[in-house]
Symmetry: C2
Subunit: 462 residues, 2 copies
């Protein structure tokens, strides 16, 4: 009575749809970045209800097409809305291998290849950070998790009793970070029972400093050497959130932005951002070599981590994680690196920093009606578009108030046209501005020009 499916035929048909619609068409600059529908319209179009009866193969294939059609094409050359973009075929193939094999990284016996791959990739990343004697690490479900690991390890390092006895065993702990840091630091502080109000606060017992290499909005780099000097002097755990800016370590020309990173106790670095590995791929790296990561997170479940196995159980890395099932995200980075070599990865990073980002910033300076927030340090370029109606209002009290409404209005129009996607936000006392994120080597100077032309077209009547 089990529904019989000719899976090979269904799978080949689906793969053809995916290659055609979700890969080829989605990355075609002549196609739209998004096909905007309001939530109400989209619900109608998709028929989301889950029923007792199944649907035919051809109906399911149509659902695949519709899902792709109405999804945002984050791999499109004109998607600049997030800190990831572009289509990386090697990494995509690695992803699909992972999906088909359904591995989970508990133990060597269940995931032998992926366990060794993770180890090789972590070692290479530590080499780039400059930890000549190695260290430890693990891939996490995103950069927020990697940052949370850092906080937890630092706390455990500082007061190991917390693992068993909770924070009642510890004095009040506070965290130092810059106000530009990613929100995951605050989220982690809340989750770990430290409290968001204990982030930023000076005094009592600082145990953790978070430095950011490539901030989310402005792409700014904290001065790591200076921060490391202070942390070393006071014996404070230094974590570097290099989720975004870590890619610069690939480049001899740009790695100076992270000078001093080798002095960090831990580093978070997401190859799924500027290095374009498929989502997710986030490494948490720790300099400690005394098995702190294992000691801090282990719970020694007997059904997974038997000690009477017939191979070296130090290859069973699953207990270093707070997850149980965990995907082998490192493989997506590994296969891509194998294919491209560091030489090509370095060129891509250089190209993003030097060619496209510099070109885009120069264009903004030259074009009337565009204004940079600051010179870019990373490959985020933050700027205002000032419509003609506001250009002679500069200095007027109403100028900023009116300018504040421009970015949301242009964003709405760009989504509805579907020609590109660029994010906007406020920042401290700065009104809404655009943040252009340049990642993909598939982006050309023509695409950069297009963004500025299109922004003017969409906003000139505002």
């Amino acid at each position: 009575v089990i529904k019989v499916l000719d899976s090979q035929s269904f799978l080949s048909q689906s793969m053809n749809i995916i290659l055609e619609d979700a890969v080829k068409k989605s990355t075609d600059v002549k196609e739209k970045v998004c096909e905007w529908r309001s939530p109400e319209e989209l619900k109608e179009l998709l028929d989301l209800e889950l029923r007792d009866e199944g649907e035919s193969e051809s109906e399911i294939l149509q659902r695949c097409r519709d899902t792709i059609r109405y999804s945002v094409k984050t791999t499109h050359p004109r998607f600049f809305n997030q800190l990831f973009a572009g289509m990386e075929p090697y990494s995509l193939v690695a992803s699909v291998i992972v999906e088909a094999l359904k591995p989970s990284l508990y133990t060597y016996e269940v995931a032998p290849v992926f366990t060794l791959v993770e180890n090789a990739v972590l070692r290479k990343m530590m080499e780039l950070i400059g930890w000549e004697e190695g260290g430890d690490g693990i891939f996490c479900a995103g950069g927020s998790m990697s940052n949370m690991y850092a906080l937890n390890l630092a706390r455990y390092h500082h007061c190991p009793d917390v693992k068993e006895h909770g924070l009642s065993a510890a004095p009040r702990l506070v965290i130092f970070t810059s106000e530009e840091c990613h929100y995951s630091i605050a989220k982690s502080a809340a989750l770990l029972g430290i409290g968001t109000k204990n982030v930023y606060v000076v005094g009592t017992i600082p145990f953790f400093v978070n430095a950011t290499a490539g901030t989310t909005v402005l792409g700014a780099f904290d001065p790591l050497e200076e921060i490391a000097d202070i942390c070393e002097k006071h014996n404070i755990w230094l974590h570097v959130d290099a989720c975004w800016g870590g890619a610069a370590l690939m480049s001899d020309r740009h790695k100076h932005l992270l000078k001093g990173i080798h002095r960090a106790n831990s580093v978070a670095w997401n190859p799924h951002k500027m290095l374009m590995v498929c989502l997710q791929c986030s490494a948490f790296l720790v300099r400690d070599k005394t098995s702190l990561l294992q000691d801090c997170h282990s719970s020694r479940a007997s059904y997974l981590f038997q000690q009477d196995k017939f191979y070296d159980v130090s290859y069973d890395t699953g207990d270093k994680s707070v997850q149980c099932s965990r995907k082998p995200d490192s493989f997506k980075f590994w296969l891509m690196w194998k294919a491209l070599g560091k030489g090509e990865l370095k060129q891509r990073v250089d190209r993003a920093f030097m060619c496209i980002c510099r070109y885009f910033a120069e264009q903004i300076k030259q074009r009337e009606g565009f204004q940079l927030l600051m010179e870019p340090e990373c490959t985020n370029v933050c700027f205002w578009y000032i419509p003609p109606s506001l250009r002679n209002l500069q200095g007027h009290p109403k100028f900023w108030k009116k300018l504040h409404t421009v970015a949301p209005a242009i964003k709405e129009r760009m989504m509805k046209v579907g020609s590109m996607m660029v994010g906007y936000q406020t920042h401290k006392d700065r009104v809404n501005f655009f943040r252009m994120v340049l990642v993909s080597p598939q982006v050309s100077t023509e695409d950069a020009d297009f963004v500025l032309d299109e922004m003017h077209n969409l906003g000139k009547d505002l």
Copy 2:
């Protein structure tokens, strides 16, 4: 200078390899479940080093083949080693769509389809739980994360000040759970600053009870109604970890195992286990309708969660998560459900419980040299294989000591032969036994017979 790749040709070649080797061959009962190599041998075979130079397309295709060859085939009909198994083509297609589109669930504008799908799937799961008035929820990176969310929400519900002020704002908090619960409860208690020693402890201020519906090793169900009575009386948050046993909610015949689950404050349920959705797919569901999930986890990052958008921002669900990037795992469940209908899912669950699991347990009772630990409540069957040399030692002081070495020895042989994979462990004072996990409708009674025959073949000389 950017390496030019004919991605369409490379992608089609890779997809063919994946469909042939990682899908067709991996699920073929005549092929091996694993191709065991020691870590040292496998390192030699794989050439893991990441270099400056890239490799040719044909070398990369060979690496794909090797990765698949030496990986464990968790989708093989004779893989019984984990709480997941089998190949579900609809869910696989959904996974590949997700990998190709690279979506992340922050906001409606970036992931419109997947945001609505998640919502629809959560609503359906809540309906199955019996929350007639709905609730809230989110898909997490695995069941451990879902359980951690429960703990954090309960704590926030109990002492909202903890979010800002940390545990210094709270009295000592303790957690009740059974000793059979999943280790993620202890891991979460450590992470959240509650402390593992405050799990199980009676006294002080209990704020959280974890009940397990389908324990990891024995597959036992806690009596939810009785626990709910006590929790209601004392106003304690009741969380049900139904990661494994939740699938029984699909079946009218077996849902009585979870009777009372609608009285829980929160539920964790992993469709990637018995329902065979591709890894990972784990839902955290909460009965509260006062936006507790949002209030507890939100940090209101301005670059994502702008309030001046042109659509209803209540569709932007990203701030309910402690992750930032988050994959649309619900889609893999949704597409599969759409294809199969609840009717088919129900049949599969019934088949796993009734046909295969019952058959296997009966066989164990009938065959000489096999002994059940207990009658199975779920689809885990725990048993010992007693080799002929030990059969007349029963009752002898050396019996248990010798039996303890049998399962690891058989496991080593089965891995090296590659004929099947079944996990083993100790449990309290019980020596090593096998835990057979029955999930996939692709498993037949012949496969069940094979396991017992093969176990005898591999272990009869011990």
